[in-house]
């Protein structure tokens, strides 16, 4: 409550740089001069081609990687302070790419309980949190199932529930939809979007699927370790040529919109989904 500006931001990144293997012959510069402020309750999407540093950036958010330059503050805590590491990790939950490699236990509810168990939460409270987390991702009926028998989308929902059971303020999805089929991606996105709207959870979603950026509050585009755009989706996709330059394909709707305006039918940049485009075209015909 000391400073209103600091209270608004959950993660503050200042002049962040990261080199892998610093000081060796294999030094690779993965991030350079990254400034980013993530506001509470925000749905932020980070996109970029392979090797653009988006995953490296994500791993700075909970102290899995520590800055080699600059600093990262999570809820006011510096990630380089070893005494705050576990507080930081319970504040920022993380979901990874491969659903198989992040589930620890052989029963769904026991896996979801893994985080709170590590935090030393009392048994009755763990039970409450597990049930609550399972309900939030709509997996309650699978509580006694074996994880390896679930679909990809269901496994990722279990992983999300596992993070939620630690009661984080912020959820980072590190390419969590990359290995899923379209249906699994939909499941995960719908879940995350609902958590963001209804529970006010801050979400940072790292992806290389452009369509997934359409419903974000803000899109950060990365290329070669730097942030090259940081704006609402409408504005980012308005700069289609620049996106294509760094090797990112624009979503189809945006592509259609551009072709239409080339032929003299202008569509406002606020139109981002197929439904909105259909609506707009039907109305303008009248």
């Amino acid at each position: 409550m000391s400073c209103a500006a600091a209270e608004k931001e959950i993660i503050e990144i200042d002049g962040l740089g990261h080199r892998y293997g610093a000081g060796t012959d294999y030094e690779v510069k993965a991030l350079e001069d990254v400034d980013l402020r993530i506001v509470r309750g925000e749905f932020l999407v980070v996109i970029g081609p392979n090797g653009s540093g988006k995953s490296t950036l994500a791993r700075h958010a909970n102290g899995l990687l520590l800055p080699t330059e600059g600093r990262v503050l999570v809820d006011g805590m510096d990630t380089r302070d070893p005494n705050r590491l576990w507080d930081i990790r319970r504040t920022v939950g993380m979901v990874f790419q491969n659903p198989d490699n992040q589930i620890v236990a052989t029963v769904v509810e026991e896996d979801i309980a893994f985080g709170p168990e590590n935090l030393g939460v009392p048994t009755e409270e763990i039970r409450r949190r597990v049930d609550e987390a399972m309900a939030l991702v709509d997996m309650g009926e699978f509580s006694r199932h074996a994880p390896h028998l679930l679909s990809g989308g269901q496994k990722q929902r279990v992983a999300i529930a596992g993070a939620l059971a630690m009661r984080p303020r912020c959820l980072v999805l590190d390419e969590a939809t990359a290995m899923l089929d379209p249906r699994g991606r939909q499941e995960v996105l719908r879940t995350v979007r609902r958590l963001n709207r209804e529970e006010g959870l801050t979400v940072i979603h790292i992806t290389h699927f452009m369509e997934e950026a359409l419903e974000a509050d803000r899109v950060v585009v990365m290329d070669r370790g730097r942030i090259v755009m940081d704006a609402p989706p409408g504005e980012v996709f308005g700069r289609a040529a620049e996106l294509e330059d760094i090797g990112l394909a624009v979503p189809q709707v945006i592509e259609v919109r551009r072709h239409l305006s080339d032929r003299g039918l202008s569509v406002p940049s606020s139109v981002l989904t197929v439904e909105e485009l259909v609506e707009h075209l039907c109305q303008s015909r009248r």
Binding site: N62, R89, N101, A105, E117, G120, A146, G162
Partner: protein, 270 residues
Amino acid sequence: MSMLRDITIGQYLSGSSVVHRLDPRTKITVVGVFMIVLFTAINAQAYVVLVGFAVLSVVLAEVPPRMLFRGLRPVLFLLMLTFALQLFLTRGHVLFTLGPLVATWEGLRQGIFMVLRLLLLLVMASLLTLTTSPVSLTDGLEAILGPFRFVGVPAHELAMMMTIALRFIPTLMEEADKIMKAQMARGADFESGNPIRRARSLIPLLVPLFVSAFRRADELATAMESRCYRGGHKRTRLHRLRATGLDAYAAAVTAGMALIVIGLRWWIPL
């Protein structure tokens, strides 16, 4: 190559019998005590008590006997060999001769005892895994080994390793199956040739499987760290093991059985 799919881990039969409902710590202890007592039995009376205890356990567990016998089939040869060795190699009063081999009364007695001993050992061990799910077996082991932490037994780490192994066996099986199919699609042959050739043909399967297992381990470690895992210290559990009156009964019956069997060593010497 569906053979890899057929392998199941453990052989747990879910149920709600008295034995199923026992605390895993009780069951592990009972089996442990039974095995120790088994090796102190030296007379027929003691074996009657032991067999009675085992039969009572099987009946109470409501496990179909054929499930138990299925587990015994692979060791049938070993049992027969043990019996024959005891029969012919023990010195004493001659029972009959078979060419150069001399069977003795003492040998017959020793042979029967030895076979009974092995049979009881196997039956009780299978009964434990048939009536206890891998998850509670792991929890039980962790709890039992817990007190030995102070003499350097890594109880929590062992239990965590078991859990992760159980979790990843099906995943790695599936992966092995996938790699095998991919190699077969490119002409690999896993099924013909002599055993050495066949073993060598597994190399292109094992190398990618190991590489992937290490990658998985690395990612799992990262995921566990993100979920605040830092060993067993100060960790709590979702499921707390709870002993009931049933466990007290089981413990009392087992203690009684142990006392009688050990006592019989002195009451009726040989």
